[in-house]
Amino acid sequence: MRLRSLVWAAAAAMVLSAGGCGKGRTTDEIRVGEYSSLTGTTATFGQSTHNAITMAYDEVNAAGGVLGRKIKVFVEDDQSKPEEAATAATKLINQNHVVALLGEVASSRSLAAAPICQANSIPMVSPSSTNPRVTQTGDYIFRVCFIDPFQGGVMARFAAETLKFKRVAILVDVRNDYSIGLQTFFRENFKRLGGTIVSEQSYSEGDSDFHAQLTQIKSANPEAIYVPGYYTEVGTIARQARELGIPSTVPLMGGDGWDSPRLWEIGGEALNGCYFSNHYSTDNPSPVVQKFVKDYRDKYKQTPDALAALGYDAAKILADAIQRAGSTDGPKVRDALAATKDFQGVTGKISVNSDRNAVKPAVILKVENGKYVYAATVNPEDVKM
């Protein structure tokens, strides 16, 4: 008897909650979905992005919202796994009925979710997925960052022309679209600029023992090692490289996947003197950047990394597009996003080109005792893709 009444109670609760859900659809808020890696191997990426998106929409809502309505963000954690990203996107679209999606940081996860957004005619704005294939999925997929060919080329140019290196080894994550993209374009550009790749080794995301690869790299005697991976592996690789006797005069170089407060925590001193390309530098004196850095620090008690800056820009550009579209209709928002021109974001002036990618400069940062110090800027016109 008691069991039966429990079952009835459960059924009633389900009906009630379903009713609540249906009611939510008719209210006046604009529903935006966000899927990000709040946990897992790239947890800080998702957390930074999430913090910045929250901050951006708090600002938008405080200023009266968009089209006179408030923006409400629905968040799903994908645990840094591509299959979870696809599930999260499906859930946000079908259950939460969002009008647009923000995400993901990692290209492999954006690639998993993008086809779902495309099929449902829901615009998706990736804050920081740099693999070219992401926006090639379809005309509903946008990004506010530069792409791998540019980023790989930037570091090749810096290594060959500024640091005057001739011999570089590569250690690539073969299971990661982002890493392979950077590696390909670094190699092409570096060779064209007269350099040699002396050794190419690989690992898979999640590996933790790199002694074998680093031993091979060491025997090739390179002047630098290009490691276009994510911070968890990069920090571990740096430590093991120094342990195996690769001297600190041989810097590791990488891309924006390094940008995490945890990188230094993991790698420590082994990372001193290493370089990576990134989307923005907190040292930039521009008032837009300084205001963003100050607000973010006040709110979250930490320095915003590039992923936060890009998350903020993605959120703002989406809000701007909905405003210009005058509607939350998928096709109209898409057209407005595609027409974005010279939007003044934290990471520079952003224009969306015909491939739905952002065109803007990159900076090179140097790791010095836990700080990421500005080293150089490379403009889009300096790099051949």
Partner: protein
């Protein structure tokens, strides 16, 4: 040549970790005929206990004494965990069919992995594993030795040295003590051992405690060397250690050590000279080959089925 020797050292230090875990598989299989799938996860828990203990010691200079304390702490904690698993999960179904036991083991493994990933930082800051990887602080002082171009780090030497020491101790325990003798009797014939007045429950419990303690030592050693640990690290290390145990002849203690070394070295050589993508393929390829050519393993004996 220097590169090859360096790879050999890398391989041996990875192999000793596999060997330490493989010992637990092989011992439990020896007495219970059970593949304890939760063993890899006990190793993971060992690494985490080591991590939290070393955080408690943080601020002190890295020294061998603190490293030893951390390792002993993790071993004791995991021995207790092993006892609990045996008492709560395996003993109630010991008389059931072997398949029941095996599925229980898989259940225990999944349970530990998922509990370890629970994210309840809000309620219990610092003491719950959570899904993010953690990084060991340096425990023991770091030295480097260069022997004809080969870099030997104190971490690698510690891993190899400690593993061998533990294996020798285990060998001594099994061959020379009364409990060890009882263990061997159990693995020979459980029912007959019972009739001879051996307390089988007690011996099985000791076996679990010992195997789990060795896995914990492996966890702390890997933390010192790698130094990344995460809640799912036990899966792949556990699987490879299992392959090592089968390769050496499951139920055979020196076989597990040999198997671990072989798997570790071949894995490092494959990554170094072929490609990292074949890393796991090789370990399992070897397993298939051994099962085809010598199903009892390299050092295993053929057991006649008694009907």
């Amino acid at each position: 040549m220097t590169t090859f020797l360096q790879q050999l050292v890398n391989g041996l230090s990875l192999g000793s970790i596999y060997a330490l875990i493989a010992l637990g598989y092989t011992m439990v299989y020896g007495v219970l005929r059970l593949i304890n799938f939760a063993h890899g996860d006990v190793y993971m828990v060992g690494a985490y206990v080591g991590y939290y203990l070393s955080r408690k010691l943080q601020g002190r200079e890295p020294s061998f004494v603190s490293a030893l304390l951390v390792m002993l702490g993790a071993m004791v904690a995991c021995a207790i965990l092993g006892l609990i698993i045996e008492r709560l999960a395996y003993r109630p179904v010991r008389r059931a069919s072997r398949l029941t036991l095996l599925i229980t083991a898989i259940g225990v493994s999944l349970f530990i992995e998922n509990v370890a990933q629970l994210d309840v930082r809000r309620y219990l800051p610092d003491w719950i594993f959570g899904p993010d990887p953690k990084f060991f602080p340096s425990l023991a002082p770091h030295y480097e030795f260069v022997v004809s171009g080969v870099h030997l780090t104190s971490e690698q030497l510690t891993v190899i040295g400690v593993s061998f020491l533990l294996m020798i101790l285990l060998r001594f325990f099994i061959m020379k003590t009364k409990t060890g003798k009882a263990m061997r009797a159990l693995s020979f014939n459980l029912d007959a051992a019972k009739l001879m007045g051996i307390s089988t429950d007690w011996i099985i419990a000791v076996t679990f405690a010992l195997g789990s303690a060795l896995a914990a030592a492996g966890g702390v050693l890997i933390g010192m060397q790698i130094p990344k640990i995460d809640p799912l690290m036990g899966i792949i290390y556990g699987l490879k250690a299992f392959v090592a145990a089968v390769l050496g002849g499951i139920g055979n203690v020196p076989g597990a050590v040999l198997g671990g070394m072989l798997i570790g070295t071949s894995e490092v050589m494959v990554v170094g000279y072929l490609s990292s993508t074949y890393r796991d393929a090789i370990a399992f390829g070897i397993l298939i080959l051994v099962l085809l050519l010598r199903p009892q393993g390299i050092l295993g004996r053929v057991q006649k089925e008694k009907v």
